[in-house]
């Protein structure tokens, strides 16, 4: 028993170190955003600000319409994309899970093959810009790559096949329910766990996506949160030219540039950190579930 106690304590100690390592960078970000600009110029970012200041947030709020707009775009794209994608995934997976559907084997291979082989960036870019002409439209943030993937279809297919009793579908069929009705009021009702998992991962993929914006947008008015953050980090002038602050035309020496960078990152990450306690259970479960299927 004594051996167990030693191991238990050792595990706690190592995991406490890991927890600190995982959280510390976020604390650095938050405390830096609340530090006085001059303090940062002379002493750098630090965990314990000597001179407290909300100057950076005041600056961002004084001209904050861009941030609100970016949030609106990200929210729109996430809701439409994740919702449509989830429905399409379920609609594709369900017939493939039915033993009596004649095309199921062939179609399952069509889905599966996309996991093994893909065309990569250049051909996809040409398809979406030359054939579908999505450049600089909101659809460029929704359609390319993220809407649906073979992995999620396989995950749902397995769930439908193993967790929904065939007898239920058969009896509903005998009662005269049509296929769409069965899908909507029986299959989806009984599949909350897998729908929640896939929906959560779809939502996170859209929320965190910056690739589509960088590849397909040159019009910055369509930028979502991640693209806005990306531009601000790599290009300080962008902050000035897009009227974030009260003085719009140029960056003045009074612009608290270094703290503003941290403050805008905090604004970008805080919704996720606040929402995390509510969905962490499903997130961890989803990771474990994906692993079982491999």
């Amino acid at each position: 028993m004594k051996e167990n106690t030693t191991w238990n304590w050792m595990a706690h100690i190592i995991y406490c170190i890991l927890v600190v390592a995982c959280l510390a960078p976020f604390l650095l970000l938050i405390s830096s955003s609340l530090t006085d600009e001059r303090e940062i110029i002379s002493n750098g970012y630090s965990f314990f600000p000597k001179v407290f200041s909300t100057e950076a947030y005041d600056y961002l709020l004084s001209g904050g319409s861009n941030i609100v707009r970016a949030y609106g775009i990200t929210a729109f794209v996430t809701i439409i994309g994740a919702g449509t994608g989830l429905l399409m995934t379920a609609l594709l997976a369900y017939p493939l899970s039915r033993d009596d559907y004649p095309a199921r084997t062939k179609l399952a291979f069509v889905v599966f093959f996309t996991l093994l082989f893909n065309g990569g960036l250049v051909p996809s870019y040409l398809v979406y810009t030359q054939i579908l002409d999505l450049k600089n439209t909101i659809w460029a943030l929704i359609l390319p790559g993220l809407l649906m993937n073979g992995f999620n279809v396989m995950l749902m297919l397995t769930f439908f096949r193993t967790s929904i009793p065939k007898a239920i579908i058969e009896s509903a069929n005998m009662d005269g329910a049509g296929e769409f009705r069965i899908f909507w009021s029986i299959i989806l009702r009984l599949s909350t766990p897998v729908l929640a998992t896939v929906g959560l991962f779809q939502t996170l993929n859209y929320w965190n996506d910056w690739m589509n914006g960088t590849i397909y947008l040159t019009d910055t008015s369509l930028y979502g949160v991640q693209n806005l953050l990306n531009r601000i980090l790599s290009d300080a002038q962008f902050l000035a030219s897009n009227s974030f602050g009260a003085n719009t035309s140029t960056l003045t020496t009074s612009t608290p540039l270094e703290t503003v960078k941290m403050a805008i990152a905090v604004i970008g990450v805080i919704p996720i950190l606040i929402a995390y306690p509510f969905f962490q259970k499903y997130f961890v479960k989803g990771i474990a579930l994906g692993a079982v299927k491999g």
Partner: protein
């Protein structure tokens, strides 16, 4: 005779028709998804062939001239092809070894935490970095590494009596930085995966071992590791199958796309991206993409073949 033949043909056709009608609703359900896969996945696969063209936007893609292997000749005569292949493979190989062994150790350790509520809490926290977009990670990196204001240059190095380092212009530090960021962001995910398979092990094995007086180390060596070996082997082979692909955001955003760092931060994915949208050459980019897709596909097939030889249940197909 002829009459019977046409009759049976007609009934077969009738049967087919009826079957088609019976399953029409199911067919309608799969259509949107299939259409998407066609556009998003299958047309780009055919599109890989543009690697054999000299792409000229003025003429249009279809009318551009076929040039055979010329794009590949250009690509492989530059040192780029060597650097990006080397970087991609070495980083992935290092991370497979390091990430897997560290994750297994941590998962075993997590299983030793007796208070379940803490085990859950630790899991939630260590996967948190996996949840954050790579853009935010780049900001965190900047807060630590920036020359003028970063925590390392302003607080840690002076405290140790060392000179400041211009990280964004010094390629030699990046293998360490990228490895640290990769592990920070991804280790929690792997720990949760291995932990899930460890808690699936029947407690009776351990009880029997304890009755025989086995120590903790012996239990780990003779029960835990062998029983999760299939999962370890499967995940490792799958990562080997993906050794030609890398986390684009990590290699592009975290070094802030600094040209001075390409020596140690350029991988196939970033090369293809810069060729397409940066200053590079789109035909070379297409050639590099083709090279990645084809070699990557061959590696996935090989990895799967090996998994299937080892244990049929764990193979993908």
């Amino acid at each position: 005779m002829a009459q019977i033949a046409t009759d049976s043909k007609a009934t077969i056709r009738g049967k087919k028709k009826r079957r088609f009608r019976k399953y029409l609703p199911l067919t309608l359900m799969v259509l949107p998804g299939l259409l998407y896969l066609l556009i998003n996945n299958y047309i780009p696969m055919i599109g890989l062939l543009i690697a054999f063209k000299e792409i000229n936007f003025a003429k249009g893609i279809l009318a551009s001239d076929w040039v055979g292997f010329k794009n590949f000749e250009y690509l492989f005569t530059t040192s780029d092809a060597y650097v990006i292949t080397r970087n991609t493979i070495l980083y992935n190989a290092l991370w497979i070894v390091l990430g897997t062994s560290l994750a297994i150790m941590l998962a075993i350790l997590l299983n030793e935490v007796r208070q379940k509520i803490f085990a859950r809490f630790y899991q939630s926290i260590i996967v948190l970095p996996h949840l954050i977009s790579i853009i935010i990670v780049a900001y965190l990196g900047y807060a630590l590494l920036s020359l003028d204001t970063g925590l390392i240059n302003k607080s840690i190095l002076p405290a140790l009596g060392l000179n400041e380092v211009n990280f964004y212009f010094e390629p030699k530090y990046w293998p360490y930085i990228l490895t640290a960021v990769h592990l920070w962001k991804g280790i929690g995910f792997s720990v949760v995966v291995y932990f899930a398979s460890i808690i699936g092990i029947d407690e009776e094995y351990y009880e029997a071992a304890r009755l025989d007086g086995a120590s903790k180390w012996q239990q780990i060596r003779s029960i835990t590791i062998p029983l999760i070996a299939p999962v370890i082997i499967m995940l490792t082979l799958l990562s080997i199958g993906r050794i030609f692909y890398s986390d684009f955001g990590l290699f592009y955003q975290v070094p802030m796309n600094s040209g001075a760092l390409y020596e140690t931060t350029n991988v196939i994915d970033t090369y293809v991206y810069r060729g397409l949208l940066g200053l590079g050459d789109i035909s070379m980019s297409a050639a590099a993409g083709f090279y990645q897709s084809i070699v990557g596909f061959a590696l996935v097939l090989t990895a799967n073949l090996i998994v299937r030889k080892l244990s049929k249940d764990n193979a993908l197909f």
